[in-house]
Amino acid sequence: MSDQKRVIVVGGGLAGLAASIRIAEAGVGVDLFSMVPVKRSHSVCAQGGINACNDVARQQGYSEYQHFDETLIGGDFLNDQHPVLEMTNWAPKIIDLLDRMGVPFNRSNEGFRDLRLFGGSLFKRTHFAGATTGQQLLYALDEQTRRFASEGKIHMKEFWEFLWPIIEDGRCVGIVAQDMRTMQIQSFRADAVVMATGGCGLVFGKSTNSVICTGGAASRCFQAGAWYGNAEMIQVHPTAIPGADKCRLMSESARGEGGRVWVPAKKGDTRRPTDIPENERYYLLEERYPKYGNLVPRDIATREIFDVCVNDHMGINGTNQVYLDLTHKDPDYLTEKLGGILDIYEKFAGEDPRYTPMRIFPAVHYSMGGMWTTYTAGDYQPSAPLGAHVPGADVPVGTEPGLGLKMGAHNNAMTNITGLYAFGEVNFAYHGATRLGANALLSCIFDGLCNGVSVVNYVRDGGHTPASEVSQGVFDAATKQEQAKHDALLETTANATGDRAYNPYQIAFELGEEMNAASTVVKTGPGLEKCLSKVEELRERYAKVELGDGAMWTNQSLSFTRTVGDMLIMGEMIAKSGLLREESRGSHYRTDFPERDDEKFWKTSVAKFNTETGKSDIEFVEVKAGLIKLRPRDYGKTDDSGPKPQSAKKETAGAS
């Protein structure tokens, strides 16, 4: 059967590749657009592992349903519940598939897949391949994609940048993209478009994200009318290695093995850390939290480190850095327990952490928010939402496909724009207000595999005019629109004043500084208002931006400068959503509203772009729940009525 219909997938990380494979396998042609060779996508950076119920944990009382419950409490109940249930039900099958693709998952003595303990669970449910699980999963999908490409079923468009979704009569019928090498701008037809473009870490300046994680593609869809959910929910990891170019993650197992966090007690003390005597050090977590010390939950650790540096200006040499000190431990012990991550630190920081305290600081890591998507709920519809699940108790629902989501429903993971889908990190639905460690890889692959089927059904049975029959004028107009924006930027080189205020790199730098200071770890109303006025100032300056390179060939400056404009729009939306959410929930912490306020804010923030003001309009809509009841999110606190939560439980949450 020859099928003329085609799907465009934008982004070649885990979500984009899983979608491409699934859609191509079903016989629908795929055009896969990526700014980098897909094997170099940001998924490669994930380390920790991928969560799934497994036979061993099952015999200990664990279940897919428990994984579901953990993900919701982890997300402070801001997740859409049905997609999460479907995802956790699929998880063991996804591991099996990856295993069949040849992922070298670590093996036990008997040759079974090995498991490790991870955040938010008392059960070993995390599968891993060395310390580079994301890399290994990405490579497996990359290999299958190459196989399909060699058979002509997937058409690779690498080094192409997505510029705009083409929307005709409320339906997405293609995209405009630019070849990053030749600079050619072109429109492409598609019967459906899947955005799988990841997070927006670069809006915050330096983050743990890769260079291409600007949020630019999502911002362009937003400006074209796609809604954006929970923009304010940004995960900040407490321990990253600050670098001159980016922040690299330092696993929390360093603190688990006895690492102590401190700063010089005297502000501005410039001595080397090893020259500062014990009594002139301020062990901030041990002093502020005598009971848990350095093993306080990660959100507290993140907030306190931030507070000491940003508010008290007590960071090392006045910078935003604190010491994470392991030098009191035996170097051989450290090598045995933490060798891999210590070598990474040494390679990039140039110092051996066995003998010199590491310098770390929290860094933006993951965006729980993303493009708003909808779905059709599956067959599991309890008459009333249930309470907390107890390990070993009867599970109220099976694990076959179709209980959480109706399998193959056209609108699963579809945005408010018909035919435009959002998969992976750029989809807001799965992780609520905080993502659990080792759930990201899962949600990306799940989206591709499960909701890829919805894309296929939609293009086959949607009953709409095939994209091949849409008037050429629509595509020509879209190309023209993007060409005009492009040419206008190029023209700014002609009469450049050289004023630093209009330098795109300077504007991006100031945006990052402001967003990081006001809209990450600790937020306040006045701080966010100030942030919004700073973004406004930057946008005024951006209107007069001066491009530093007028080349018509491989012009990276042009691409970057264009993205800065889109990042400013993201910044405004993130800060405004944070300002309007007057409560604290998960990663979103407001000192002026320190409690969770379910009555007013057990709601998804939905941002819509206002083309008149050029800004976002935010509304709060009901979270799609109904399966599990709200309850307090209290781990990390001691509970005398039951077993104490393991300190490792929260410590490793999100360490992927």
């Binding site: 170099r40 099996d96 040849g102 093996r107 260079v211 600050p242 990039f348 140039g350 595999l449 790199y505």
Partner: protein
Amino acid sequence: MSEAEAYSYDAEMRKENRKKAVAGRSVIFKIKRCDGPGKPMRWESFKVPITDGSNVISSLNWIAANPTTVDGQQTTPVVWDSNCLEEVCGACTMVINGRVRQSCSCLIDEYAPLEGDVITLEPMTKFPVVRDLWVNRDRLFNNLTRVKAWVPIDGTYSMGPGPKATHDLQQMRYALSECMSCGCCLEACPQFVKVEDEEKWDNAFIGAHAISQARLFNEHGTGKRLKGERMDELISEGGISECGNAQNCVKVCPKGIPLTESIGAIGRSATVHSIKKFFTK
């Protein structure tokens, strides 16, 4: 000095440099530039202030925001390829002070510890230049297709787990699977030469990375299904017989992948495969 000695000398030197790095210094970046295919190469130098933790990437970022050469000439930001900046994606590979490596993990303290020290940046020489330090490495990925570097699964539907694997096999395969397709092994290989014409890629030397990937999939329970086809490719023109055993590949691999072991293993398989083919003709 042998290659191996040179490498350990290099590591020692970098460690020593780290200790004598001067705070607040500026260093000179001498960069080989080219505006595009067929355009002439030129050198431009930039004086870049070095801060704590500076690496080649942060220095190129600084130059992008301040594109003025040491001669006071206004120029364009330098173009280069990069993504993860954690030495795991392979994108930012270039030739730094004459040696191929990733630029993200190249710390300035280790290469230019004193005021006015010079760091030279050049594009890889075995691939066509796109612009400045960015080269077109499509051929590298094409060669993965040549050896069918994948497991031929039946499909993505639920069909239970894959073949059980021993701990030792997993360890061996994991080491090979860390290859990030950066191309260092190809840059250092005397047998791998630049081929501009895409039509000729399939008959040119395939390179250590692809030979090692062939071994990775030959060793997998399902992957070995395609072993015959992989070996056919590897005993044809541009295959393993063109390896000159210089062993440079293994010395420059940033991930310590046992490439010469893979070449040895595939060499033995190739011999067996050729004999089999001879008798089954």
